[in-house]
Symmetry: C2
Subunit: 375 residues, 2 copies
Amino acid sequence: MSGQFLQRGEPAVVPKHVRTKLALQAGADLVIELPYIYSTQHASIFAKGAISILDSLKCDYVCFGSEEGKIETFYELIKQKKQLTSSINTSIRTFLDEGLSYPAAYSTALQKNLESSKLDVSLPNNILGIHYLEAIEHFDSRMEGRTIQRIAANYHDEETNHHSIASATAIRKILKGDNQSISDFVPSFTKDSIEEYINEYGALHFWNEYLPFLKYKLMTSTKEELENIYEAVEGLERRVLHSVLNCLNFEELMTSIKTKRYTWTRIQRLLTHILTNTSKKEIASILERDRVPYIRLLGMSSMGKTYLNTKKKLIDLPIYTTINQQNQKELSTDLKATHTYASMLSLDNQQKLIKTEYSLYPIIYDEKSNQFSRS
Amino acid sequence: MSGQFLQRGEPAVVPKHVRTKLALQAGADLVIELPYIYSTQHASIFAKGAISILDSLKCDYVCFGSEEGKIETFYELIKQKKQLTSSINTSIRTFLDEGLSYPAAYSTALQKNLESSKLDVSLPNNILGIHYLEAIEHFDSRMEGRTIQRIAANYHDEETNHHSIASATAIRKILKGDNQSISDFVPSFTKDSIEEYINEYGALHFWNEYLPFLKYKLMTSTKEELENIYEAVEGLERRVLHSVLNCLNFEELMTSIKTKRYTWTRIQRLLTHILTNTSKKEIASILERDRVPYIRLLGMSSMGKTYLNTKKKLIDLPIYTTINQQNQKELSTDLKATHTYASMLSLDNQQKLIKTEYSLYPIIYDEKSNQFSRS
């Protein structure tokens, strides 16, 4: 599970300790954090991070949602794609030169070179699925892919068109407004937890709440400091700087920065890295390792605990739960992400949230009694 | 006049455009900004900045407030002091080694070496006066010093002990509370302007309002970035970092950082530089020049205008009013200070305040009709 910031370059609506509990209640047996360095990245690095963790945990299968729904179609495409690698790469470069964004260039290049494939590579979850399977190959992992078809809601759908299924975007939109309830679209414990969080912490975490900090950061940074931020390329950071001066909310800011060259998501990720002060150097030094070098265990059920005990001897990586003196440096980017994530809360609620990072994990869930406890 | 941040390392209660008007109404004929780089410094650099500007403006006299009140006493001390420079410097080093703060070491060294002097060098405004007169000598200026005795209120007095005179600290304290009015201690136009500012901008500028930004900045900066901040020495920045985690207001933070080695003011100045992201490099490159290289004219009366016209040919420096493409780089630290200063306001009020920097100055005052106008 992603930590405080998500792949689309935005804060999670509620922090990871709340989502860990929801995942356990919804049936997950182990909740492992996908570190910030991988969770806020484009599909290829995101998938590598996730797959390397599952591989290190000696999993047998990885299952992902896709618009396609049949795993064979993915494996067929991967096979074809491998034979056409250089031709596809040439196409990608051509489309980039024509001014397309990277995801559009990638998707168009696949469409052009793999006309006979049954997989619709214009759809975002199919694309992510390709990256998962390619990451499995990259790590020479013995894991097999499986997929579940996504129905009734596309990720980007802003409206709810089905009586019980809605996209994350649509659910966020409901949470921002006052008119509709999310109760039709999420389990009741999710709705209750979100309400409880608002009562306890005073707010949900939307980008708009971070705008004063983003603006402050941009206006007090030197040109060099902004250029050193990860994903600051081709003067995009200067575009952000000029736009932020005249915008009164996050939506306005994004609209004002947006060009055909960069996707909405790509820009949000840059803003996230500016907000968290994540530099090119910081990311490069971590990505050099290729695999995530530790397991950050956020939560487990009794079943998950048994699984870990059984596989313990086979797992080569250290398993971290809380942050302590020994692992503080290795987990510093995620700790920084939590500090940034907390910044829009009142000072006392900030302290409460930071404390979870140091002392709350792993969250232990007894699935029979439906009770949480500490280890 | 200092810009948005003051010598004691704190934000001005209201921004410089408001204080410019107050100064003009109170009888000042020219209001020139002492740039951030000089205004947020210890007495020696603060005095050099101020004196270099007045000297560049071809002033005849500089008049300062002091506890002493007689200028001859100052000139006598300066004369004695020059003959004892090396002995005084040795004493300062000794007292610093004993753990005294710099101002305490300086004052104690003067007391020890200049026993026969009539000037009480334990008093802060007398010390500042010495620095003004030494700066006049340093620049070989033809200006003469004059002094007015401060009565009834010491700078640090927190309470008001006189029916109509109060220290800046005491006035700030009244403004923070709800119980007392400042009307006994300031002209009525000052009281009205402050109330108007609260109505228009929603708040006054106290350190406490910046604490969320200071905390955010500290928690997202690397060790190196913090070490590069001006006045971050001997690990003091690490002390700040650890303290900010556990403090819910600015007073608590300061009390938790404070040691005998560093004055309250010294620590506030470091916090100001952290907040504005002002680096050692940035300050060093500017201080190399010794003199302030431009005149930033914030306001003038008819008399002030006449003065400038008369002396125009003698003044070698460029006179800047608003910020524009030509001078933007030279004024960047002050622009950054205004952005930082604005950060605690709502986003629309931030825009309004930033606009003053670009287009409001110089503020022109007709002292006969008591009217303000634009140039």
